[in-house]
Amino acid sequence: MTEMTDVSPPRGRTALRPWMLVLPALLFLAGFFVAPLIDNGARSFLGEEGGFTLARYWQLLSDRFYLGVIFETVALSAGVTLISALIGYPVAYFLVRKAGKWSGLVIFLLIAPLLTSIIMRTFGWQVLFARRGLVNNLLVDQIGLLDRPLRLLNTPEIAIAALVHVLVPFMVLSIASVLQGVDRRLEESAQMLGAGRVRTFFEVTLPLSLDGVGTGAILVFMIANGSFVTLVLLGGGLQTLPLLIYQQFNTTRDFGMASAMSTILLVIALVCLWLQLRLVRRQGG
């Protein structure tokens, strides 16, 4: 790098400045991310007859139905994030501290579901949990535990479970990468000073690994916030903004409303991202 800045360029040529290296990426982002976002936002303020309007935002933020949808979107994402963290942390801990030579296998098992398409995984849930699916057949016909099959599919619970199934690997890998870097001597010091294993975990290990939890939470929340396929196939009555956005495009062709909804979804994501970052930093992560 020193060579680039110290050596004068040949006459007629200008040496490449370091910032120019990011120029292609910036141009790409500007053209294919920022510009569409601005266009999308602008469309949401464009009235039916042209001109500026806030009517769509007023409707979305004052109508109880839409407020309910916004709440359900956030609640679903927060719930999936929380469950993923509760499941993911012990798995990450096991992976880093206990798996030893099996860690490669554990990582493979974690990532393996991501190698198949999300549609196939969701259809897999249908096959397993349908009224005459594998689980119900087992409970009713094989074991005889139930008289009639349970209704497991097309419920909010199964949609949440399917989302957690898809998103837990993101949480585990985020936590594991931070846990890996936690200095074991700090934990040993705490125990030498009289702290038990549980106290050591909650007062040393967990705070030191919160950065990983935060990263995982952000990833999981963001993906859950925009999740669509799983909810379409297993939603069971859940109504979230991505589903309504698709509906505006596919069924009613109200692109202005779809744009307003997507802008609100984006703002929700950004606010939650900011809150999570603040929370994690305050906790000392």
């Binding site: 050596v7 200008t14 490449l16 249908q126 599919l153 379409v232 589903l243 069924t251 109200d254």
Partner: protein, 349 residues
Amino acid sequence: MTKLTRRQLLGTGAALGTTLAAGALPRMASAQSGEITVTAFGGVWEEAVRSCFVAPFEEKTGAKANVSLGGPAQWLAQVEADPSDPPVDMLIMTPDLALAAADADLVEDFTVEKLPNLAEIPQQFTDSVKGKGTIFDYGVGGITYNKQVVSEPPKSFAEFVDRVADGEFIASLPSISYAVTPIMLIWAMAEALGGGVDNVDPFFEAMAKMKDNVVFWGGPNDFFNHLASGEADLGIYFDGRTWNHYDSGAEWIDFINPEEGGSLNGVAVQIPKNADPLAWDYVNEILDAQNQAKFAKIMNYGVTNRNVTYDEVLAPRVTPWQKTVFPPYARIIEVRNEWVDRWNREIGG
């Protein structure tokens, strides 16, 4: 370390730009070199389009037809984005979107002068999209059921509602995110139960009665999974797709056109303004009796050329369009958004 100069960077950028621009060349060249871009749904639809329409078109004109896969909402959005140079030269549309394209003056008028085979399409199909296109094939939205579970299927929409409401069956119905649900379910059931386009209360009352015993499908394959996995016993679905599943080995599946008449769900063909003139030759092939008969045989859907004769396998499967209920597409579009909003609030996702 190798030094990059601004000139080298610009040179690389220019090369990259040229490469990217080359992607647009086939489209730019298409108007001059006898190439058009036609549309098709994926899967067996694409195969049928290639063999029944693209092949005869290419043979007769010596031109090439590139097939763009996707869906009507996407194609219409593409044409809306660039009407002076539409990226596709013909559109496969649902009637509601065909009417939206017609109302936006994005598509050409269909006349017998431009399309000789249009003379063999019943006028109703062309009128239904305001003469700016025509319907070339159709599916009937009726009752599809699993024969192994439902020995005596409901014969009408009214019986369907009563028996599902009683808990005799779990029904799989199209969700509101499926584009033609307002036609094939809301309007069709309202009409069958004594309402109509101005009064869909009977539909919403029926849904309230059935709510504990219904699941919703987001796409056609989803419906098949519901039946195959036992999540549902029967549902509202298309005749053609039912027979496709049957021919694929699902011999447990069957279809009934309800006594009130299932809704006719047409597939319209249109030509965007400023499309390549070769598009007229291509669409004329779509309306040709022989090509349509071949298409019907592959797709198991009815077609609209009055000279088409179905073979002995297909004849009993295809519901003649006269025995269906022809939806008032234009009027449905006017109230569709209210129906969707009501669905969201009363039925949910």
